[in-house]
């Protein structure tokens, strides 16, 4: 019983610890455990899983008796047990109160025993139906989101039955004590027109469970006939007073069978129900199915390891005005289709337009550089701004210096093939970083728009 409850609470704790973990981690962890169990031919169970996690985390399994969530229930159980014990003594003392005046009425005794039985049955039925009429006593507004929410009826039944059992036990002990230290005279009385024979039949029916075990605890017809009394009757009319005391075995067995035994049985049933409902609550727990999914489903990883890719250093593009140039080099054919680009970038309406990079051969690149060097003027290199600058462009600039292009080199990244100026700050920063990496003071990052503005200024 405690194990099932501990398991539920333990599982709930682990679920709450895992709730903020990422799914991939949980799946890897639990799948790994499932595979280990399979390899070691160990059963794949939730207790084993919890034990493995506890071992990994250096945690001790918490005994359900110490769980703070059960503290209230444990305390309630002690209080009810204490109350039951005291009430059992008081009840029995009151019931067996005998001042020598009139007999103790067995009929009343039977009725009270019946009432005890009914109360016990009512407690269990409440728990079975999940009805909680006493809920307000526990705090009506207590949250429904804890793991014990669905177990409250049966936990309450267990508390009540514990109290009832203690009541029955101390009642029984008090009865025995009273029998030993006093001479109790039992009798029977009723307002109803009941004959001794009828009463005997009823008593015999009640005594059926122990008839064969303890025949002396079944009152005889003679005893029944002899022990009927009326309150108005001055004289008890009993020839042999010792005879009235012989009811006690019946009273003892009546208490034992109809009060103590049902409480024992119902307490055990409540314990079983608690165990069963704990298992049921565990299976209905929101963490149960996902855990078994993680156990059963292979861990599929497509992500690889997350690479810590450093973002490029921020750079602010410092666009320079276009130098006065009559030579344009279209890198990888950038802007070649634009008829107006040459005139827009160059001081000469018909500048020398050359092509390098891309599909040109390396020899063609070298010839282009030789032509550019001959002019001795600044050279404008037009490139596709949306494509990142490559090592080939870097080599081309290096080769230009090697081949005697000593004048300014103006790098103009375009926004499109039509010759629009690149405006995207991210792309411009990429080109600025490229220019910075070349460590060439004569290499400038330029834009047509900046040049126009300069002219206007």
């Amino acid at each position: 019983m405690a194990n099932a409850l501990t398991l539920l609470l333990d599982f709930d704790d682990q679920y709450r610890r895992d709730v903020d973990q990422n799914h991939a981690f949980l799946h890897r962890r639990d799948r790994r455990f499932a595979q280990q169990q399979q390899e070691q031919r160990q059963p794949l169970t939730v207790p084993a899983w919890l034990a493995s996690l506890h071992a990994l985390n250096g945690q001790r399994q918490v005994d359900s008796g110490r769980d703070p969530r059960l503290r209230g229930w444990r305390q309630a159980r002690w209080v009810f047990a204490g109350l039951g014990a005291v009430l059992g003594v008081v009840f029995m003392l009151g019931l067996l109160y005998y001042d020598g005046g009139q007999q103790i009425n067995v009929t009343l005794l039977v009725a009270l025993v019946g009432l005890q039985g009914l109360l016990a049955l009512f407690t269990s039925v409440q728990a079975w139906l999940g009805w909680q009429p006493w809920r307000t006593l526990l705090g009506r507004w207590r949250g429904n989101d804890d793991a014990l929410a669905s177990l409250r009826p049966v936990l309450s039944a267990r508390v009540a039955h514990t109290g009832g059992l203690m009541f029955a036990l101390t009642g029984l002990l008090t009865l025995l004590l009273q029998v030993a230290v006093q001479d109790l005279a039992f009798g029977w009385s009723t307002t109803l027109q009941a004959s001794a024979v009828g009463y005997h039949q009823w008593i015999s029916a009640l005594a059926l469970p122990w008839q064969s075990l303890w025949p002396d605890a079944v009152p005889s017809l003679a005893l029944v006939e002899a022990s009927q009394f009326y309150r108005l009757q001055q004289d008890s009319g009993v020839a042999n007073p010792a005879l009235l005391g012989t009811w006690w075995p019946f009273v003892l067995m009546l208490w034992l069978v109809y009060v103590l035994l049902p409480r024992c049985v119902l307490l055990m049933l409540a314990a079983l129900q608690l165990r069963w409902q704990s298992h049921r609550a565990l299976r209905a727990h929101p963490g149960w199915q996902p855990l078994h999914y993680r156990f059963d489903t292979p861990w599929v990883d497509t992500r690889g390891d997350d690479e810590g890719q450093a973002a490029p250093a921020p750079a602010h593009a410092a666009l320079s005005p276009l130098p006065a140039s009559t030579t344009l080099i279209h890198w990888a054919g950038a802007g070649l289709q634009s008829a107006s680009l040459g005139a827009a970038l160059s001081v000469d309406p018909a500048p020398l337009q050359l092509r390098a990079g891309g599909n040109s051969s390396l020899d063609e690149d070298a010839r282009v550089l030789a032509q550019a060097a001959e002019s001795g003027q600044p050279v404008i290199v037009v490139a596709r701004g949306w494509e990142p600058p490559t090592g080939e462009l870097s080599d081309f600039i290096f080769d230009a210096r090697e081949q005697g292009v000593t004048a300014l080199l103006a790098l103009v990244p375009l926004a499109d093939e039509g010759g629009e100026a690149l405006a995207d700050a991210g792309l411009l920063a990429q080109w600025q970083r490229f220019v910075d990496r070349q460590r060439d003071s004569q290499l400038l990052l330029c834009a047509p728009v900046a040049a126009e503005k300069e002219q206007q200024a």
């Binding site: 507004w141 669905s150 599929v300 690889g304 997350d306 054919g333 599909n359 600058p389 490559t390 990496r437």
Partner: protein
């Protein structure tokens, strides 16, 4: 990433490995990000900075079924090709010549990127060459294609669509001369089925790669189904939490409760928003979207409890028509009942009355929202309780928002960089659900809102949400079905 000191394991000969190569900025990383379902990959990196190849193995319980290798782009293809041509005697020695290039230049910083991209190919990886189909074909990249042809490895060209223009046909014709297989693939928008098709194509590159790739496809499909159903479980748990949530405070016997109401209201709303955000993160985590930027209006509950006001409907994105047409809210059961009695002949009337009942229900519940409930006096104190919000509209709002977010996340590729905008629905998806299913869902949601939900019914709720999920997905696809188009390709 390997430990710095640990040796790199020798790649298995039979393991299908694919080096994704191409010119810089043509979407190689986007393709890898989508196929590897890793949204941390496609961060634009620029050439010239140190770049290494990155391996993305597809593992099932630590068994690798295939491996994608994201490589840096070509930097100096013409020089590499010139070197190869200068060191080759005949066509038969070309693969060895490429291997020799890698061996000779492995420590040369100028050819770092080329060595990084060619090494896996020399070691046996297949080639996935990525081009941008949105720019016109030109011969600028022929040197790259020639180098790849020299390796003699199985190759597939992928036409990635980065911009709006489509020049795929011209690319397809040109690439066909260099590569065994040519495929079109939009790394950002291609639906999951297209990812699988692409992987299937990878398997066609070599006969012994087909089997592991087919197995991988099955696992990936199961993974997708598993994620969808787990997302439902998370939505169900969030609904259970949110619909039944109460905020409580203690107050003494003679203390005035009225100042407590706005405080508890605020706490209740904050809690709801925080719980909804936890759901969002959980669903995104499930689909491995870890860098997702999301834009969504906060869950707003009406001020003063007027749940049926115009302002509320605007906040929640619900119209009067939707309420009536879908038999929305509290009236759904009533409306369905009327229709059932009339054997379906009162189709319109039942729904309309359903809507009216919904309005009445809202009116009824709105009164309750503005009130505190009090527990019994105990030790001179009593407990004041705010919530749950019993109006069924709230449940549908939470559910609708959750399904919309789930749908967008589940359909999103990991190469996507745009902000995920979760906007209110213009039409109502509930109308797509069968009435009996809708009624079942309604009952469960009502039980949640009245805190009478039996935890053992969680599975039933998940099944009902699955139907809602299907209805939602169907509703999302409806515009495309009506126009006869695929949602995205």
């Amino acid at each position: 990433m390997h430990e710095p000191d640990s040796p790199t394991p020798a790649p298995s000969v039979d393991l299908p490995r694919f080096a994704v190569v191409g010119h810089p900025n043509k979407g190689k990383s986007s393709v890898v990000a989508t196929i590897a379902q890793n949204d941390s990959i496609a961060i634009a990196m620029e050439p010239g900075t140190t770049r290494d190849s990155h391996r993305y193995p597809m593992k099932v319980d630590e068994v690798t079924l295939y491996e994608l290798i994201d490589t840096p782009g070509f930097q100096r293809p013409r020089k590499v090709l010139a070197w190869l041509q200068g060191h080759s005697l005949s066509a038969s020695d070309r693969p060895e010549t490429v291997a020799a290039f890698v061996t000779q230049h492995r420590d040369d910083p100028r050819y770092h990127d080329e060595c990084e991209l060619l090494r896996p190919i020399v070691e046996g990886a297949g080639i996935i060459y990525v081009v941008d189909g949105s720019v016109p074909y030109n011969r600028e990249h022929e040197a790259e294609m020639n180098i790849l042809r020299w390796t003699g490895r199985p190759s597939l060209a992928l036409i990635n669509q980065i911009g709006p223009d489509d020049h795929s046909a011209a690319w397809e014709a040109a690439l066909g001369q260099y590569f065994q297989i040519v495929r079109r693939f939009d790394a950002v928008r291609a639906p999951f089925e297209k990812h699988l098709d692409l992987l299937r194509s990878f398997g066609q590159l070599a006969p012994h790669w087909r089997e592991p790739l087919d197995a991988a496809l099955e696992y990936l499909q199961a993974l997708k189904f598993g994620r969808d159903s787990q997302a439902l479980e998370r939505i169900a748990d969030a609904l259970i939490d949110m619909l039944g949530h109460q905020e409580t405070a203690r107050l003494s016997e003679f203390e005035d409760a009225s100042p407590l109401l706005p405080k508890l209201q605020q706490r209740w709303q904050n809690w709801q928003r925080e719980r909804e955000q936890r759901l969002r993160v959980a669903v995104e985590d499930l689909y491995q979207h870890r860098r997702l930027q999301r834009q969504e209006e906060a869950l707003v509950t009406p001020e003063g409890g007027d749940l049926f006001s115009e302002r509320t409907r605007q906040l929640w994105g619900i119209s009067k028509t939707q309420l009536a047409a879908a038999g929305f809210g509290a009236g759904a059961v009533g409306g369905a009942g009327i229709d059932a009695v009339a054997l379906g002949h009162s189709l319109g009337a039942g729904a309309l009355i359903g809507g009216l009942l919904g309005a009445a229900g809202s009116y009824y519940y709105s009164d309750k929202l503005t009130k505190l409930k009090f527990g019994p006096l105990s030790g001179g104190f009593r407990e004041a309780v705010y919530g749950p919000l019993r109006d069924p509209q709230f449940a549908y709002v939470v559910l609708g928002r959750a399904l919309l977010h789930w749908y967008q996340v589940s359909q999103r590729n990991h190469a996507g960089r745009d902000v995920l905008v979760v906007t209110g629905a213009q039409d109502h998806w509930l109308a797509q659900m069968e009435r009996s299913h809708r009624n079942g869902l309604q009952k469960s949601l009502q039980a949640l809102a009245s805190r009478r939900f039996d935890p053992s019914k969680r599975q039933r709720l998940i099944e009902q949400l699955e139907l809602a999920q299907q209805a939602f997905a169907q509703w999302q696809l409806r515009p495309f079905q009506e126009s006869g188009e695929a949602p995205s390709d």
